[in-house]
């Protein structure tokens, strides 16, 4: 294979991975914008959704039913956790809430270890058929599904925000929580919805990536972290930035792993995160975020 073809190949692999990061970052940013909480347990929703789908599918359910059921279960888990652990302390400081989500994250990861063990689980590709040839590069059919998921999610989110009453309520809450509350918008319901939606989005991302990377109990830790890096690259409260940040990170990682060293793949995200925080903590995309003191 020529280097040109290889670069194109890397590019598509990077976009596939990056789409998953973008979805996770989308959930993080939406939760952050609505509640002001950095949800460190986001990655665990991804693992929970993927592993549940694997188990349901292995139990004999048709793929589509396993997906829907596992997304519903993870959505419920997100909502329940919000009611159980976030809502009771909604007036606590940010630091308390971050620590709580970290606590939830390690508890969920431990429970996943208890239930599923350390073995990797797999799901079949959604559609059969060989890879698509695009400009000389082979694009996995599962990648097309992942691009589709990202496109559907983003346009769905956009339509929701722009066209519905609740979307307007969310936007109001993002702009000024106190004023939104004075206008009769209940922030507790929005917070509940944000966590439930994060569960759904995380689960969908986890299920879609599993045919490519397999699912393990600790996949959420790395994926959640990558989501954070993507969100930070874009500026933590910028939805568009999160998507671009995710795609960028995916491409950077694959190029770093492919051209330099495969051991470097996970270090790329950490280095990018630290570099962005040190040099441009308000995010490289969008100038007006990250309030200074």
């Amino acid at each position: 294979m020529h280097l040109d073809d290889q670069i194109l190949q890397f590019f598509f692999s990077g976009l596939t991975l990056g789409s998953i990061y973008a979805l996770i970052a989308l959930a993080l940013v939406t939760t952050y914008n609505i509640t002001g909480i950095l949800n460190m347990a986001q990655g665990e929703f991804v693992a929970l959704g993927a592993l549940t789908a694997c188990s349901l599918s292995a139990a004999g359910l048709p793929l589509a039913a396993a997906f829907i059921l596992s997304i519903l279960i993870t959505t419920a888990a997100g909502g329940i956790l919000e009611r159980a652990a976030i809502n009771p302390v909604r007036n606590a400081s940010n630091i308390t809430l971050i620590i709580i989500t970290i606590g939830i994250s390690i508890t969920l990861r431990g429970l996943a270890l208890l239930i599923w063990g350390t073995d990797p689980y797999s799901l079949p590709s959604f559609t059969r058929g060989g890879p698509l040839q695009v400009l000389g590069a082979a694009v996995n059919s599962q990648s097309i599904w992942i691009f589709g998921l990202l496109a559907v999610t983003v346009s769905g989110l956009f339509a929701f925000m722009e066209r519905t009453y609740w979307g307007k309520a969310v936007r109001a809450c993002v702009i000024n929580r106190m004023a939104a509350r004075l206008m009769g918008i209940n922030p507790h319901i929005l917070s509940f919805a944000a966590f439930a939606a994060s569960g759904a989005l995380g689960a969908a991302a986890g299920i879609f990536i599993t045919p490519i990377t397999l699912a393990t109990y600790d996949m959420g830790f790395t994926l959640g972290l990558k989501g954070f890096v993507a969100a930070i690259i874009g500026g933590i409260n910028n939805v568009g930035g999160a998507i671009i940040g995710g795609l960028l990170l995916g491409v950077l990682e694959i190029f770093g792993a492919g051209l330099i060293s495969s051991g470097l793949k996970d270090a790329v995200a950490l280095i990018v995160l630290i570099a962005v925080l040190l040099i441009r903590p308000e995010g490289i995309i969008g100038a007006v975020s990250g309030r200074k003191v």
Partner: protein, 337 residues
């Protein structure tokens, strides 16, 4: 009264090695002492400056590895190596903290999380320097001007004397202008800034101080076990440090020692207990319990177990404190989104 209590506690600690003929218990007390050094620093950062670090185990590890590398590879004297083990983490913290602490959001939490993971990767992968996953052996005993610390009870006195020093330091800090300023920052940055406090500089100082103490703890740890590997410096350890600080009570001098003691003892108990109820489970399951305890503690007792005692002692200050925090919360509301 309070001095009597401190004196009595010191006496009890001084007498313990004579009473305990059991090396296992003595080693647990030493470990509690070493962790307390780290947690006192984290306590200042969390309880006074209102910031959190999820990478404290990395500073702890940098301290340990500095000692290990300087003494085994460069044959450096042990006391200068210990000093280097404090300076290097402090410098690293300054580099990370300077840009991130200028921002109001909790970027430090994320930066330290990533930093901790990256440092752990480096401990594992930087084989030429760190010895990779199998670590470094043959660290000499600490030699302070000819006195060699090579027995458990000697280490016990060394560690707890350092803890006492840090105690006194933090207690003085608590009552100084810096301590009051830091508490003001925790309650409301806007109000503190309006009163002429340089928030980012003070937060940075608190962070650097916490890294310095973590480095000291790590250096002492290296001299105590004379062997070092990446395993005890991972993300789980960082979480345990946060748990220790939170359980004991943030913003108190006694909280860290209480929290560290509880978490270490709980960890030991779980290590014996978990295999009894879950025969196929290994030691890694104890982190589930730590996670649950962390969540429950933050929901039901975010002020920590040490706070109740403190409240009695400071009953006369409560009214003013409440007025101040009310004022502060008003400020936060009006400045928030």
């Amino acid at each position: 009264m309070k001095y009597l209590l401190v004196a009595a506690a010191s006496l009890v600690f001084a007498a313990l090695p004579f009473v305990l003929k059991n090396n296992y218990l003595l080693s647990i007390l030493i470990v509690i002492g070493i962790y307390t050094l780290v947690v006192e620093g984290l306590g200042v950062l969390m309880g006074y400056a209102g910031q959190v670090s999820f990478g404290q185990a990395a500073f702890f590890g940098i301290g340990g590895y500095t000692v290990a590398i300087l003494t085994t590879r460069f044959h450096c004297e042990t006391v200068p190596a210990l000093l280097a083990a404090m300076v290097l983490p402090a410098l690293t913290a300054a580099v990370i903290g300077k840009p991130t602490l200028k921002l109001r959001e909790h970027y430090l939490a994320l930066a330290t999380l990533a930093f901790g993971l990256l440092v752990h990767v480096f401990f594992n992968e930087g084989r030429e320097l760190t010895g990779g996953p199998s670590g470094l052996t043959g660290i000499p005993y600490l030699n302070a001007g000819g006195f060699i610390f090579n027995r458990d009870y000697e280490f016990y006195y060394l560690v707890w004397s350092l803890v006492l020093l840090v105690f006194l330091g933090v207690r003085n800090l608590d009552r100084s202008r810096i301590g009051r300023s830091l508490r003001a920052i925790r309650d409301s940055e806007v109000a503190a800034e309006a009163n002429g406090i340089n928030c980012s500089s003070l937060k940075l100082q608190a962070f650097v101080f916490s890294a310095l103490l973590a480095g000291l703890g790590g250096g002492i740890y290296a001299y105590y076990v004379t062997f070092i590997s990446p395993a005890p410096f991972g993300f789980n350890m960082s979480i345990q440090f946060v748990l220790m600080a939170v359980i004991g009570g943030l913003g108190t001098v006694w909280g860290p020692v209480l929290g560290t003691g509880l978490v270490v003892v709980l960890g030991e108990v779980l290590r014996w207990f978990i295999p009894l109820i879950l025969p196929r489970a290994g030691g890694e399951y104890q982190i589930i319990f730590f996670g649950i305890i962390l969540v429950l503690a933050m929901i039901f007792k975010p002020e920590g177990l040490g706070a109740g005692w403190r409240r009695k002692v400071r009953a006369n200050e409560t009214e003013t404190a409440e007025a101040v925090s009310l004022n502060a919360s008003v400020n936060t509301c009006s400045s928030g989104r």
